[in-house]
């Protein structure tokens, strides 16, 4: 080994060490609020707001979780597991239907030609900007007869302009060669979409699925307007059982918060590698 080589190896090792140090410090600062949430959920309320002591893993117990479950365990309040099930069903429905509807539309915009297409696409792009808060009240009027159902909570979110836009940019960037070959083999437009475009678009499907799942999971405004029956209430609405009541019991709030993200967290940890990589590889080509 020459002197220069060993020097380079040493400097590389030193650089790696420095990177780890920077990454660790940043990650610690970054994860601190999340740690605070979880550790606080196992503490008595008085301990939560005790400054840096809030980080200390002491006085841990399950009381907060017990009272969260106790508060949501009757016909009149609804049941925790019912809320959880509702949220999962709604989110999954929005994800699955949304993937089908939006990817098809995007493919049509990106690859197929039909009159009115460009104008329609312009409309989609403009609709990306409309915030849900702007249309919530008119929607409330339109869907009033569907109150208190799971469907009414999912229906307005199936078609999503932003998802269409994400799919669209991805399909535009796909090489046309394979699709054209498939067409020559006699596959129709829909067949080409299903057999050729969809398989090569797996990462963007994953991205849109993850994004949609997360935004749907956190929905608050819309369900608070259209659901009063506990049978159909989604989980996030119940946050205000704990955070909206004075005085706030912070231990219970944090316990509920932890339960609220638990399903997403499990999903995230289980598919963490896939999660981040798929998001990365679907990066939009602009």
């Amino acid at each position: 080994m020459t002197n220069a080589q060993s020097q380079r190896a040493r400097s590389r090792r030193w650089r790696a060490a420095r990177s780890y140090l920077v990454l660790t410090v940043l990650a610690a600062a970054y994860v601190a609020p999340a740690y605070y949430l979880v550790i606080g959920s196992f503490k008595p309320a008085a301990d939560v707001l005790s400054g840096l002591g809030g980080f200390a893993p002491q006085h841990l117990n399950l009381d907060n979780y017990r009272s969260v479950f106790d508060s949501l365990a009757s016909d009149s309040t609804g049941y925790f597991w019912q809320f959880m099930t509702n949220s999962i069903l709604i989110s999954l429905a929005v994800v699955v239907v949304g993937l089908v509807v939006n990817s098809m539309a995007a493919y049509s915009f990106a690859r197929l030609s039909w009159r009115g297409r460009d104008k329609s696409f312009l409309l989609v792009v403009a609709l990306v900007i409309v915030p849900f808060e702007a249309v919530a009240i008119p929607l409330l009027f339109m869907l009033n007869d569907m109150r208190n159902s799971l469907l009414v909570q999912a229906l307005p979110f199936f078609a999503n302009a932003f998802s269409v836009y994400l799919f669209y940019t991805f399909f535009l960037g796909l090489s046309k060669d394979i699709e054209e070959a498939a067409r020559l083999d006699g596959l129709g437009s829909f067949g080409t979409f299903v057999r050729i475009a969809v398989p090569s678009a797996k990462p963007v499907f994953a991205t849109v699925a993850i994004l949609t799942f997360m935004t749907t999971w956190g929905q608050y405004l819309w369900p608070s307007l259209v659901v009063s029956n506990p049978r159909y209430r989604p989980l996030p609405l119940e946050l205000s059982v704990f955070s909206g009541q004075m005085p706030v019991d912070w231990g219970e709030v944090l316990a509920f918060g932890t339960l609220l993200i638990l399903p997403v967290l499990i999903f995230f940890v289980a598919f963490q590698r896939f999660f981040v990589q798929s998001l990365a590889s679907s990066a939009v080509k602009g």
Binding site: L26, W114, R115, L123, A134, A136, L239, L254, L265, S281
Partner: protein, 310 residues
Amino acid sequence: MSNPTAESPRRRSLRWNRRELPGVAMATPGIIGLLVFVAIPFLVAIFLSFHNAQLNSPRAPNYIGITQYTRLFADAQFWRALGNNLTFAAVVIPVQTAIALGLAMLVNQRLRGISVFRALFFLPVIFPMALVAVIWRLILARSEGGLLNSLVHFVTFGQVGPQDWLGNSATALPSIILLSIWQGVGFQMIILLAGLQEIPQERYEAAQLDRANRWQQFLYVTLPGIRNTLIFVVLLTSILAFRVYDQVYILITSGGANRTATQTVLYQATTSVFDQNNLGRASAITVVFFAIVLGITVIQRRLVRQESEA
């Protein structure tokens, strides 16, 4: 983004021909969904903005022309809210993008366990904003027991007393910006990371042969290499930044946040309807909001396009 392929020249008949039908059929569910659940309600909002209307009231909306708009433009609180929106966007768009890029470059190293760090930086993205607001309300609490106050106390050896981060008009908006970036930056980081990974390694090697230092490599290899991704991230962040609402609403109503200093346009819209039952005003606010964001988006696109043509 590039333009879709040119429109079919055959446009004589009023109906789509057979070749066009699959395209129309595939786009229809999405277009109908967007029309029914976004476009039409938004048109209704425009309609309502010219009326005095209440939610679920037995009285029909009565037409009052552009009164809601003239009032809005004469209302100092509305301008303040708009100003907060613009400040928020003006800070969040560059800062969040820069931090995202910094993090993306950090986690783009070939190190063992790097995917764990990627995951950790992405973690807050999975938190619903309502929960983020609750956690940060505790962190920013104005008593000595607040996490940030306690930290400041510790770091300054007790020289600096507890601050009312959310209540003080000087620190309220920065606090909201901080927690918003914390929640959102991981997403941009991942997109930029993907952009970074597409830059061929040879370009860096060529730059090193040319004795380019790391800063020069960043300027002449990295930035041009992720140009399109960056543009996408900036557009995305802009749209999301203007939409800031959940955290502001929760922190004002239950976190003691300074209303004047933190209210945004969408906050005003929702309080108009839910606290004051003034549907017309709320609708006018959302229409103005839409117009402004549309305008900014169009300008951004123009700039991007001009630059790429230049």
